[in-house]
């Protein structure tokens, strides 16, 4: 089970990324190339929604899982994949040319949800440390051309011992890798870990919409 956390660095500037980059290099990480994600923010077309409804719908697509996307409303997450199982196609449930859910929301559910922002967050870095025990991703977030956040994604891929949970490993890693201080978001959507859904939820939390 992969444990995840997303850290929004305090008092960051566009430069913080290269300062972090220079520091983490001393851990001799394996650089696994550029990393990015895309976040679409929908607002409820509110006049028409029940009052219990969330006013936001988020859709995230991470570069390292290109065929999947996560749609979040409140604490519900829907995973969509563009490669359906053959079983489902054979059962007549799909024809097999699948689009991500946000495309349907954007074009057919406009009476309920309208796109407010599309954030293309790119030029991030992925660092693989200690033969993949830890995976760090660092990226600057710009909103309408101006700097908004510096986010560091921390993933623990090692074995979890009963006493030493993945979450503790993530907290330890902050001191160990001299990660700058910030707000760490590690909340899971449900009791069971759902890697991509939890990562999406933590990302949205870190960006504070």
């Amino acid at each position: 089970m992969i444990s995840t956390g997303v850290l929004a660095v305090h008092n960051a500037s566009p430069n913080s990324l290269s300062v972090f980059h220079d520091a983490i290099i001393s851990e001799i990480p394996k650089l696994s190339g550029r990393w990015s994600f895309e976040l679409k923010v929908f607002r409820s077309n509110n006049a028409h929604l029940a009052s219990t409804q969330s006013s936001f719908l988020f859709n995230i697509n991470f570069d390292h899982e290109p065929s999947k996307s996560i749609t979040l409303i409140n604490k519900i997450s829907i995973t969509t994949s563009t490669s359906p199982s053959k079983e489902l196609i054979d059962s007549g449930s799909l024809v097999g040319s699948c689009d991500p859910l946000d495309l349907i929301v954007q074009s057919k559910l406009q009476s309920l949800w309208l796109v407010r922002q599309t954030l293309k967050v790119d030029n991030g870095f992925t660092y693989e440390i200690n033969q993949g025990e830890f995976l760090l991703r660092a990226v600057n977030v710009y909103l309408n051309g101006s700097f908004k956040n510096f986010l560091i994604f921390i993933e623990y891929h090692g074995n979890e011992k009963a006493k030493e949970s993945g979450l503790e490993k993530i907290k330890e890693s902050i001191a160990r890798f001299r990660i700058p201080p910030g707000n760490l978001h590690t909340e899971q959507l449900t009791e069971t870990k759902e890697y991509l859904s939890d990562l999406a939820y933590q990302t949205v939390q870190a960006l504070q919409f």
Binding site: L49, Q53, P84, L88, L94, V95, L101, L109, S111
Partner: protein
């Protein structure tokens, strides 16, 4: 976006074995492919009244179709974790321009969008629909068999509904659906060729089953039309 070209027909239990035998020999496929799914129809929780003189932008509302693979022993909707989600447009205009003269399309043509969704552990389909602003309207089972003929898929199916704790056949008729999916809706050459292919099949099956273009209104997944009049 997929464009589906189709023709529909209806047959009876008594005609079933004759049709199956004829199809088998026509397509050269001795055994049909059996399939079964559960279809859930969902509609927006709030239906917005169309206001003819409003200056606000108004949007069309659509039903959502969700389908999942099931088998004979199906009993619990919560056990289904993978779904195909589809939203259908109203069928396309039945008249198209063909080499400067207006020519009637001989087949039904309908566009739809689909997503493959996977539910997380603990999440219920109804909760997901609710968060999207939808609610379950009805559900039914489709039980059918399938043949392939060139690019055409031929499906014979029956609809089962849940009445008083059991699944029963909606009626004794068997629906016949023949269709070709066009992945690129701009691929006019493919559309014309596929239209011809379906029309040819219609000819071949004359006397066995009458394939035709259904009433557009029956395939319209938009809602609130009554409010719009």
């Amino acid at each position: 976006m997929v464009q589906q070209l189709s023709l529909f027909g209806i047959t009876t239990q008594s005609q079933h074995s004759l049709l199956i035998a004829s199809l088998s020999s026509l397509v050269g496929q001795t055994r049909s492919q059996k399939y079964e799914n559960l279809t859930v129809l969902a509609k927006p929780t709030t239906i917005i009244k169309f206001e003819p003189n409003s200056t606000k932008q108004q949007y069309e509302q659509y039903k959502i179709q969700l389908k999942s693979k099931i088998d004979e022993n199906f009993s619990d909707i919560e056990s289904l974790r993978e779904w195909g989600l589809q939203v259908y447009d109203i069928p396309n205009q039945t008249v198209q321009n063909s080499s400067s003269t207006k020519k009637k399309l001989n087949v039904n043509s309908q566009n739809f969008l689909e997503s493959y969704i996977i539910l997380n552990k603990g999440d219920k389909l109804d909760d997901i629909l609710k968060e999207l602003g939808y609610e379950r309207e009805t559900s039914y089972r489709i039980k059918g068999e399938r043949f392939y003929y060139g690019n055409i898929t031929i499906e014979l199916f029956q609809i089962l509904i849940y009445v008083e704790n059991e699944w029963i056949l909606l009626d004794n008729s068997i629906m016949v659906k023949t269709f070709i999916n066009i992945a690129k809706i701009t691929d006019l050459e493919n559309i014309n060729k596929s239209t011809q292919e379906l029309v040819n099949l219609k000819m071949e099956l004359t006397g066995l089953v009458d394939l035709s273009v259904p009433d557009k209104n029956n395939l319209d997944s938009r809602i609130g039309l009554n409010f719009r009049k």
